[in-house]
Symmetry: C2
Subunit: 340 residues, 2 copies
């Protein structure tokens, strides 16, 4: 690979002049500029990023640390991140923690989490990244997971603490929106298949649901609220339980599309029609939602926006190191299909 020195010799000038021509950091006469440019294209010179970064102390590279790229929303977020970073002239160093399997038995394995996360962070820092974006799907409080560090950090999808910058989506308000949507369609007997009882999204979404009901002067009876484990089978099982209630709910709000799919299967096998007898809605807008029979009305996570905003924030933090942490909560949208 040609170096600046080769160019300088060929053009009959010093490396300083070549540098000034490239960066416009000093007036150079048109003739000299032309000679240097000629030389550059002749030897097909490209600046050595390593040398430049070493000298300047910044790499124009952002570390993206993900829990697991195989998680659908993670891939969509990373897509948004990488597009925005590239537009801003930043490169992306990608590191995957491969933590998908362990996603739900979180509290037991907190030590492993902590260790792996900090290894990942150390790796990225040793690559001299200018900033780090952490993309996680889980709902844990992350504050004490992170060793202190001086590299700017933003959380995408998951929450940070109060002193962190993060961008996430609104669990509570989205669930409330959905309830208002259902109310608007004339549904008053709304049943819920929640996720893991103690998880953060479950709590927040339940809160939003109850808020919206209350505002309409309604409540959800205890037997209409059931807890699953986010998986298809639990949606099926809990629906079977719901079918024992009398009167039946007119709509079932499953807290993710997988459980909604299980729910629909149970309903169908009980001979009920969707949405005529019981309507169903989900949460997440996974691929499966549009291929269910009937296609599922659900809530779309604002995944590309989360990525875009997170990337914008990290760039901002690099350029203005003293800015205050920002907490951005992006609204979800309801995707209306035929299950209501």
């Amino acid at each position: 690979m040609a170096t600046m020195r080769d160019v300088a010799i060929l053009a009959g000038v010093s490396t300083a002049t070549v540098s000034h021509v490239i960066n416009g950091s000093k007036r150079i006469s048109p003739e000299t500029t032309e000679r240097v440019l000629q030389a550059i294209s002749k030897v097909n010179y490209r600046p050595n990023t390593l040398a430049k970064s070493l000298r300047l102390g910044q790499t124009h590279t952002i570390g993206v640390l993900v829990e697991d790229i195989r998680g659908l929303p993670v891939a969509a977020i990373v897509s948004g991140i990488s597009e925005t970073l590239a537009k801003g002239g930043y490169k992306t160093i990608f590191h995957d923690l491969h933590l998908l399997e362990k996603l739900y038995n979180q509290y037991e394995q907190i030590g492993i989490y902590r260790q792996r996360i900090n290894e990942g962070l150390a790796l990225l820092q040793s690559s001299n990244v200018d900033g780090i974006i952490y993309v996680a799907m889980h709902d844990r409080h992350l504050d004490y997971l992170f060793d202190p560090m001086d590299t700017p950090l933003v959380f995408a999808y998951s929450h940070g603490t109060e002193s962190d910058t993060f961008v996430t989506y609104s669990n509570r308000d989205s669930a409330a929106d959905m309830v208002r949507f259902l109310l608007g369609k004339g549904h008053e007997r709304i049943a819920v298949i929640a996720g893991h009882p103690h998880s953060y999204p479950t709590g927040q979404r339940l809160l939003g649901i109850q808020m919206a009901m209350q505002q309409a002067g309604l409540t959800i009876p205890q037997e209409y609220i059931r807890y699953g484990n986010w998986e298809y089978d639990s949606g099926l099982e809990q629906t079977l339980e719901l079918l024992k209630t009398d009167p039946l709910p007119t709509v079932i709000f499953a807290m993710n599309d997988l459980m909604a799919a299980g729910c629909m299967a149970a309903l169908l096998s009980a001979g009920l029609r969707i949405p005529e007898d019981v309507a169903v809605v989900g949460f997440d807008n996974r691929e499966i939602a549009s291929y269910l029979q009937p296609p599922l009305t659900t809530i779309a996570l604002p995944t590309p926006e989360i990525g875009t905003r997170a990337a914008l924030h990290i760039i901002d933090m690099i350029n203005n190191p003293s800015t205050h942490p920002v907490r951005e909560i992006i609204h979800c949208s309801i995707i209306e299909r035929e299950s209501v």
Copy 2:
């Protein structure tokens, strides 16, 4: 950040000694070693990767260029790649071409492809990556898309040319396997919903299907072969056409899961039972396959292996620059569910 110089001063030695202690490149007395180690941990020293890479001429970084991370198999492949690279001590620079939208109108836009790909490659090369893995889902011939370069390159998923190293999966043999599997279940009237008529996978899979049939002394009648466009709707439409044949096929082999889903919907709406009246199989093993009613028997792409193998190859090429190109074709496996 502490530098080697800080460590040297604190330990009362030269930077050369510190370097030798860290790299074991020279005998250093136990006492001095101990003093240096103490100093390192005292100032929390970490070697500056940029300086090291600049001096040594290699970054231990691999560029991963993907057409679009939102494509499911791409994310799974990247997962395999990143895991293997990390184990091998390599970092990953990730660059996404965001080409998903344009995936099927390929021939018109070849100029854009070419330009974007080479911009991506140039970007990675300017980051001084030691090697590049290109992950694409499409079936184009890529030979003339790439400007010549000296950085080692391996193709994952898509084909390269004869002179490239690539790892992909077997379209023809997998389709043949599926036919043999169906034959073994007693099916002899096999209908096919193919993908785009002129696409590479369509051609190869059709070839495999006909090969396997021929070996069994059978052929597929012309009216049993229909072409879709890989989308749900086309699976539905083509199944409607197949239902006009007499006798009906006993099984429909859709060349992807989306078309298989459409096919099942058409069958169900025609009052046919799956698999009793007509069985259905797909290709890809997307998430949707396990949630269809009944769950779909399909072919699983060896995505993690493709990633793993590609990563291993690139590492090998870096360490042994003179090795010949290798073409690796990985076998798919049949995922047996309840649609047959």
